[in-house]
């Protein structure tokens, strides 16, 4: 196997020691905020924007943009990790915790999975337990400003403890299910779960 392989003449450009334990295996720190997406950036006018929760809940819920902004919001700081190898430390966001959204719905006890769905048709799936207890947000501000469209604005999911493709841009809602359903990248060779600390990049 390749585990004892040494690259001739490679010493590496080391990151600062204090940051080293914050960067998962195979990742490097970038000061930039790269943009990755599979297609054109969708642009939905705010007056037509809604956020829906559907699936295994007693009654579907839908918020307009104005209503969504009225929900209790939190500011949070997170390290984010993209499967394409870059990590960005201390990113600053503001948005609504998924826990807050749960206060408005009656969840079926059989719920095990959640799919985020988005403008442009993108989807991504996660176990339910990965979005509760302060682990996931619908964010609409980045660095104190409205989230730019190329970074997923008006609102995106932010689930910092999973690879960043799970943090779906242009999110329009969550669908709760009993059975798992692989999303866009999860159907195209990327890992179904995506924990950066376990390097769950691909199948």
């Amino acid at each position: 196997m390749a585990s004892n392989f040494i690259s001739r003449g490679f010493t590496g450009k080391r990151r600062q020691a204090e940051a080293a334990n914050r960067v998962p295996p195979g990742q490097y720190i970038t000061p930039d905020f790269p943009v990755l997406s599979a297609g054109p950036t969708p642009r939905t006018p705010l007056e037509g924007w809604t956020f829906s929760i559907e699936g295994l809940i007693r009654e579907p819920v839908k918020w307009s943009w104005e209503e969504f902004l009225q929900l209790p919001a939190q500011s949070f700081v997170a390290d984010i990790h993209c499967v394409t190898k870059w990590s960005k430390l201390d990113t600053q966001w503001r948005g609504v915790s998924i826990d807050t959204l749960f206060e408005h719905i009656d969840l079926d006890a059989n719920t095990r999975y959640v799919t985020a769905f988005c403008d442009g048709g993108y989807t991504t799936n996660m176990p339910f337990v990965d979005v509760i207890n302060g682990q996931a947000f619908v964010a609409y501000q980045y660095d104190g400003k409205p989230l730019p469209a190329e970074h997923g604005g008006p609102a995106r999911l932010v689930v910092p403890h999973l690879y960043f493709w799970k943090s779906a841009k242009w999110i329009r809602g969550l669908r709760f299910t009993e059975k798992d359903k692989p999303g866009f990248w999860e159907s195209l060779g990327y890992n179904n779960h995506g924990d950066p600390w376990k390097e769950e990049r691909y199948w």
Partner: protein
């Protein structure tokens, strides 16, 4: 048994200087798996103390070449892996890789055309694999490539592209230079704009499948421009490429 996507130790078979900042590396793979044009490989470097660095690089070669791949790598200032590959790696060296990876930004000959390929800088690499794949399979799909570079010296695969263009086998190539044009330049000499997109994409008709790869600003501008000239969202596949800075 060899698992798909295990790391393997490739051997550098040859190195080609494509432009002042870009080299292509032909790697011999003991566990070669046929890729799809547009896919990439991960490269992993390991220091004697176990420190590792990984990056992804697009495959430039056609899938029909068995047992080996070409990775084309742009030298990035301060780049950890690209600088090693450019400054240290020589023919005969070994390097750890895994792949092929990626399932969306791919084109296979059976998918047909018309095909609109738009590249900025080293974003040409995965598109070159598609072009070479089309040539290798004798694809008759009409293909138009619009390729934006800073100067003519920065155009990767220039000679090969010119030859393919002059062969008139259904591939038409349009260059644009954004910084500097040589005397007698007959191509475009500005950033890609909607007028250019109309001129290049228009003749391909409404059923075109577009692949756009390059720096963020170019990809954003081109993808929006293609929507404006009437392509649908699902006709446009994008991939960001090159250094992460948004300059």
């Amino acid at each position: 048994m060899k698992r798909y996507l295990d790391w393997q130790i490739a051997t550098v078979k040859s190195i080609r200087q494509e432009t002042p900042k870009v080299k292509s590396f032909t790697l011999f793979l003991p566990d070669w798996v046929q890729h799809k044009a547009g896919q990439h490989y991960d490269v992993r470097l390991t220091a004697p103390d176990g420190y590792q660095a990984q990056r992804s690089y697009s495959i430039a070669s056609e899938p029909e070449r068995s047992g080996e791949i070409d990775l084309t790598v742009e030298w990035i200032e301060d780049g950890e892996v690209s600088s090693y590959m450019h400054e240290v790696l020589t023919v005969g060296d070994q390097i750890e890789v895994r792949g092929p990876i990626g399932g969306y930004f791919v084109w296979e000959a059976y998918m047909g055309g018309p095909l609109l390929l738009i590249a900025g800088g080293s974003g040409i690499v995965p598109l070159m694999s598609m072009i070479r794949h089309g040539t290798a399979t004798g694809s008759t799909a009409p293909v138009r490539l619009l390729y934006s570079s800073r100067t003519v010296e920065d155009v990767i695969y220039y000679d090969e592209l010119m030859k393919l263009h002059e062969a008139k086998n259904g591939l038409e190539i349009f260059f644009t230079l954004t910084r500097q044009t040589p005397v007698g330049w007959t191509g475009y000499s500005r950033r890609i704009d909607s007028q250019m997109l109309v001129e290049v994409a228009g003749p391909l008709g409404s059923k075109t499948q577009a692949y756009v790869c390059g720096p963020t600003l170019l990809v954003e501008a081109v993808a929006n421009g293609l929507l404006q000239i009437g392509l649908a969202q699902n006709q446009i596949r994008t991939e960001r490429f090159g250094p992460t800075s948004s300059s």
